[in-house]
């Protein structure tokens, strides 16, 4: 029975080693990005690297506490901890301090504390508790709604702060649902909607509606054989739109095509709906409903894009999609970041030798854009090392999660790795210009006590659960 009791033998040293490497390398880069004068000491708490050192110390204390606690503590207190977190998120909205336009901070003495960071591990705990509870099945609607509420309550509270980046992270938990057996088709449907979303942003809306229409026509013709509908309604309709488009495109006229399209679309749809009902063909109805939903989606995406998102957020999305080649404007951050990374070359300029990332040119260079400093000073060697560390950590966590006997531990593990995956992908992706600039930190790496502590807690609760995997059965 010694195996069960010896925590050193059971704990996963590979994960801990990667954690340590990330923390140390991260701190070195924060030090380099912030070092102001030649003779600053490492523990200068007025500087970011000093504060970060302090937070690393606190993290170690936190780890010790997590390992002292009984592993059963976490499933047992999952809901109360989650409830507490939700209350904190409400409180921060009421009493928090606004920094950079988002009300997401508590200020106590000289320290700032960001509850939204801590909401992630606690959401994972609550979700794991729910999904592992007896008799829970993702097939029941009620269960799905419950899971959705657990995931999106904190997400909504963070959205109103407003902190778009942290909100998007919560979609990571849908990946957990996927692992637990959530319908693959629904996931694919979700993914196609995301693709349609991007297409909507990229192309003319009327063209998309027309496209959807053509697809529907195609399905009608070859699946159902609604020949009458096809020839009687769709073909003349499409011909008219072709003409309108041509008129607009070639002779510079300005028909309000979008609105005409929508109106005609509605009219023709009602006609085909009547036809479908008359002919009593359920397949035809299905196609029609599908068509409606898709068009509705396109229209609402368009509305949301133009009316709900702030201008700079719209801009960032457009720039990433390559629609606005505007390095002077909003692409500025990304370009500066790319210049910094690119200037590092293969081997980098060397520790403390970087120039581009020092304060002025790359914004947020010790938080969201810390990866730039790595790129500049450590070159391709450094950046690929960080990428590899994250890939190894996440795949290692998949392996650990899969070896759990307890559902709770496995689901929690997937929550952890899914959130890490999203943070890693989005953060590195934005720094190298592959994804929109969404301000979320690189786990264990970026400056920030809340982020560091929350991710450390997130990871080490799992490692604790894992070390007790032989005892935890449910």
């Amino acid at each position: 029975m010694t195996r069960r009791n010896n925590i050193y033998a059971n704990v996963d040293w590979i994960s801990i080693l990667i954690w340590m490497l990330l923390i140390v390398f991260g701190w070195m880069n924060i030090y380099s990005a912030n070092i102001m004068n030649g003779d600053g000491t490492i523990l200068d708490f007025s500087q970011r690297y000093g504060k970060q050192m302090l937070w690393i110390g606190v993290s170690v204390v936190l780890i010790v506490i997590v390992f002292i606690l009984d592993a059963k503590f976490f499933p047992f207190f999952a809901y109360p901890l989650y409830g507490l977190m939700v209350m904190m998120l409400i409180a921060v909205f009421l009493f928090g301090k606004e920094i950079n336009g988002a009300k997401s901070w508590f200020v106590l003495g000289g320290f700032q504390f960001q509850p939204s960071e801590f909401a992630k591990p606690f959401t994972a705990l609550a979700l794991a508790r729910l999904l592992s509870s007896h008799g829970f099945t993702l097939k029941s609607k009620r269960s799905l709604v419950l899971a959705g509420m657990i995931i999106f309550t904190p997400a909504l509270l963070i959205l109103v702060q407003p902190d778009m980046g942290s909100t998007l992270v919560y979609f990571a938990f849908l990946l957990v649902l996927y692992r637990e057996g959530f319908s693959q088709n629904t996931m694919i449907l979700g993914a196609s909607l995301a693709v349609l979303f991007i297409i909507t942003l990229l192309t003319d809306k009327s063209l998309i509606v027309l496209g959807i229409w053509l697809v529907a026509l195609f399905l009608f013709r070859f699946n159902v054989g609604g020949k009458k509908v096809v020839t009687g309604i769709f073909i003349p309709g499409i011909a008219i739109f072709g003409l309108l488009f041509a008129a607009n495109y070639f002779s510079g006229m300005k028909f309000p095509i979008y609105h005409v399209t929508l109106a005609a679309f509605a009219g023709a749809s009602i006609a085909s709906l009547v036809a479908a009902l008359k002919s009593r063909q359920p397949a035809m109805l299905k196609i029609l409903v599908g068509m409606f939903v898709t068009v509705l989606f396109v229209v609402s995406v368009d509305y949301a894009m133009n009316n709900l998102l702030k201008e700079h957020q719209q801009q960032r999305i457009y720039v990433t999609l390559g629609m606005e080649d505007d390095p002077q404007g909003v692409g500025y951050n990304v370009n500066q970041s790319k210049i910094a990374i690119g200037s590092g070359g293969f081997a980098g300029k060397g520790f403390l030798k970087g120039t581009q990332t020092k304060l002025q040119f790359v914004p947020e260079q010790s938080t969201d854009f810390i990866f730039c400093t790595v790129g500049e000073e450590w070159g391709f060697i450094g950046t690929s090392l960080v990428v590899i560390l994250f890939v190894v950590l996440i795949t290692r966590l998949v392996i650990l999660a899969e070896r759990q006997r307890s559902h709770f531990s496995r689901i929690y593990g997937y929550g952890l790795l899914a959130v890490l995956f999203v943070h890693f992908t989005v953060n590195v992706g934005m720094t190298i210009g592959l994804l929109p600039v969404i301000g979320i930190p690189l786990p264990f790496f970026s400056y920030g006590g809340s982020s560091l502590l929350a991710f450390t807690l997130f990871l080490f609760i799992f490692l604790k659960l894992d070390s007790n995997r032989l005892e935890l059965l449910r």
Binding site: M36, N100, R179, Q328, Q336, F380, S384, A401, Y414, I432
Partner: protein
């Protein structure tokens, strides 16, 4: 465990895939692509921040009142400094070698790698010489800044000024960098985002000798500068200057509003400062000195001084009485040098008696308003004093009292209208009645109102029952409209018809002949309507108040004048208001004798300069 176990591989595959995509991309960005590569020399790229010119400010007559002048800061990055010709450098800057060392040390203390200011605002000539020789001084650079320039030495309170950003702003707003300027107060602060524009960035390539050899990547990564947007404000600079001149011997303020639009025409706070003093490298020093002055010239009395309204408030009580139906135009009260009730005595001055409503305004009779107030507070329609008081308070609040009006100033104060809860706490519930709070009948007591609120009340009376939130913004370049909240009419809870007798009384107070309280404010050809007031001040002499609007029909200007520590409202405030109205409506004034009288000021002179700001005034039952 079940058929979903295979999904683990989806996770692993995706993670590895993303990792590969990133590594390939990084390989391209860092190793293959030359466009991102920079030569190994640290200084081969030079980033130059381009500061935009700040937006200009015009007054309502399109007179340019705030413009820019150029100044140059010498910046330094200590890490890049190499040995240089210190003697030449010191000579041109007119500093000693020791001073140079000190300045360098200060920059090092801030940061070795980040640019900071070495010397602020050197003259254009020096900057021109330095510009040519800059390559000989690696690590140093010139940074142009824009400073403000003011066409007239007036309106510093309302225009505000710009100053260097402090640590707090640097932390909270990523746009600003050390040494940047930001609107500190007034219009400069309220419309900072409009006026400042947006900084640009130019990236240059430099050779080993620190000389610029061209723009980096043909300016592909430069960020163009966006010039600040101009704006027109509703201020009448000419009237403002006149107002400041009239107030030069007094402490106090004038606020004038165009009633039909809510636009602020003038906002004087005296003593004032020449805005040209609030620019340049000695700004901090100047501010410190001015703040030490007992009369605090930086304190904007028009927005921040809170005084009891005195007798001007009788207009409000009359309106409420009419609205509640406890007072009629025909109601008359006898006055025997005051109001006596259960041992409380509110004194009144000599005038004929009895008086009806219109005459009560004309003569400002205290007794009349003690009676009116009693009728309001003992209104049989309501259960008790508390309920009646709450109705009274709602009426008062509808004039914009007791809350910030929401003008385009960030430092507006809200004054005070006590609540029933306050009296319940103070006297315990049910143990207070109209007599306890009788001083509010004549505008004394716990009431506190700012001059801006007072001017707004005057505009409301001039409009017979509504107002637009007072504001200065008139036109902003690039925006079709100003804030829609300034286009929204606010109606008081008093019917328009009830205003007529009040306006009539204010007319008679000025034009009613002997016995009227403000005869001195009368102007030939213009029907001025006015009301005097005296705010009691426990720290010293009473404050003199006068509110007025003109012409009576179709009012063009409504204003409130406060003169601190100068006694009765008719003495100084009324003539000042009258001159202001005449100046605004006629463009000049013929009454030199009255002008001289005001300009020479109080012959007693300011013997007793307590910096009475009237913020703590508490009332006692006395004449108003």
């Amino acid at each position: 465990m079940n058929l979903f176990d295979n999904r683990r591989y989806v996770f692993i595959v995706f993670t590895v895939l993303i990792g590969l995509v990133f590594i390939v991309r990084l390989f391209f960005v860092q190793v293959v692509e030359s466009s991102y590569k920079v030569s190994a020399l640290n200084n081969s790229q030079s980033h130059v921040v381009v500061y935009p010119a700040r937006g200009l400010i015009y007054d309502r007559n399109d007179e340019l009142i705030v413009s820019n002048q150029a100044a140059y800061d010498i910046m330094v990055v200590p890490n890049n400094v190499r040995a240089f010709d210190t003697t030449w450098f010191c000579n041109i800057l007119d500093i000693t070698k020791q001073n140079l060392e000190e300045r360098l040390q200060r920059a090092k203390n801030y940061s070795w790698r980040v640019r900071s200011v070495f010397m602020k605002q050197v003259s254009f000539d020096v900057a021109a010489i330095l510009q040519e020789k800059m390559y000989r001084f690696p690590g140093f650079s010139l940074q142009s800044r824009t400073l403000r320039k003011y066409a007239r030495p007036v309106a510093s309170h309302l225009l505000g000024y710009i100053g260097e950003v402090d640590k707090r702003i640097l932390e909270e707003n990523a746009y600003y960098a050390m040494g940047d300027y930001i609107g500190v107060i007034g219009i400069e602060k309220s419309y900072e985002n409009i006026l400042r524009g947006e900084k640009g960035l130019q990236i240059f390539l430099k050779d080993v000798h620190n000389r610029i050899i061209g723009s980096y990547e043909e300016g592909k990564y430069d960020k163009p500068v966006k010039v600040g947007r101009n704006m027109t404000i509703s201020l009448d600079a000419d009237l403002q200057e006149y107002g400041e001149k009239l107030m030069q011997e007094f402490v106090g303020s004038i606020v004038a509003i165009e009633p039909a639009s809510g636009e602020i025409l003038t906002m004087v706070s005296s003593p004032t400062v020449d805005p040209n003093m609030l620019i340049g490298r000695n700004l901090g020093e100047t501010i410190r000195k001015l703040s030490a002055d007992t009369l605090n010239p930086l304190f904007n009395r028009a927005l921040m001084a809170q005084y009891p309204p005195g007798s001007t408030f009788k207009t409000i009580n009359a309106l409420i009485g009419l609205q509640e139906g406890v007072l009629h135009t025909t109601t008359s009260y006898y006055c025997d040098y005051g109001y006596y009730y259960r041992g409380v005595h509110v004194r009144c001055h000599t005038h004929r008696a009895p008086l009806n409503l219109v005459e009560s305004i004309q003569h400002s009779c205290n007794t009349y308003y003690c009676n009116v107030f009693r009728r309001i507070m003992e209104d049989p329609d309501y259960e008790n004093t508390e309920e009646a008081f709450n109705h009274w308070r709602d009426h008062v609040a509808s004039f914009g009292f007791g809350e910030k009006l929401g003008s385009d100033f960030t430092n507006e104060l809200k004054g005070n209208i006590p609540t029933a809860a306050y009296y319940d706490r103070y006297y315990t519930s049910g143990h207070w009645n109209f007599l306890t709070i009788i001083s509010m009948a004549i505008g004394q007591g716990e009431l506190l109102i700012t001059p801006l609120q007072m001017a707004n009340m005057t505009a409301t009376i001039a409009n017979r029952g509504w107002f637009y939130t007072p504001h200065l913004a008139k036109e902003i370049e690039g925006e079709p409209n100003i804030d829609p909240k300034y286009k929204e009419k606010h109606y008081t809870t008093i019917d328009a018809a009830h205003y007529e007798p009040i306006v009539e009384g204010m007319d008679l107070a000025v034009n009613g002949g002997p016995g009227s309280t403000a005869r001195i404010a009368k102007i030939q050809d213009i029907t001025v309507c006015g009301k005097t007031g005296t705010a009691e001040n426990p720290h010293g002499e009473d404050h003199s108040i006068f509110i007025a609007f003109a012409p009576k029909d179709n009012p063009q200007i409504a204003l409130a004048v406060y003169v601190e520590n100068e006694g009765f409202g008719g003495t100084w405030a009324a003539p000042i208001a009258s001159l202001m109205i005449e100046h605004y409506l006629k463009g000049e004034t013929n009454r030199t004798w009255l002008e001289q009288y005001v300009l020479n000021g109080n012959t007693k002179k300011k013997k007793n300069e307590e910096a009475a700001q009237g913020t703590e005034d508490t009332g006692n039952e006395e004449e108003g």
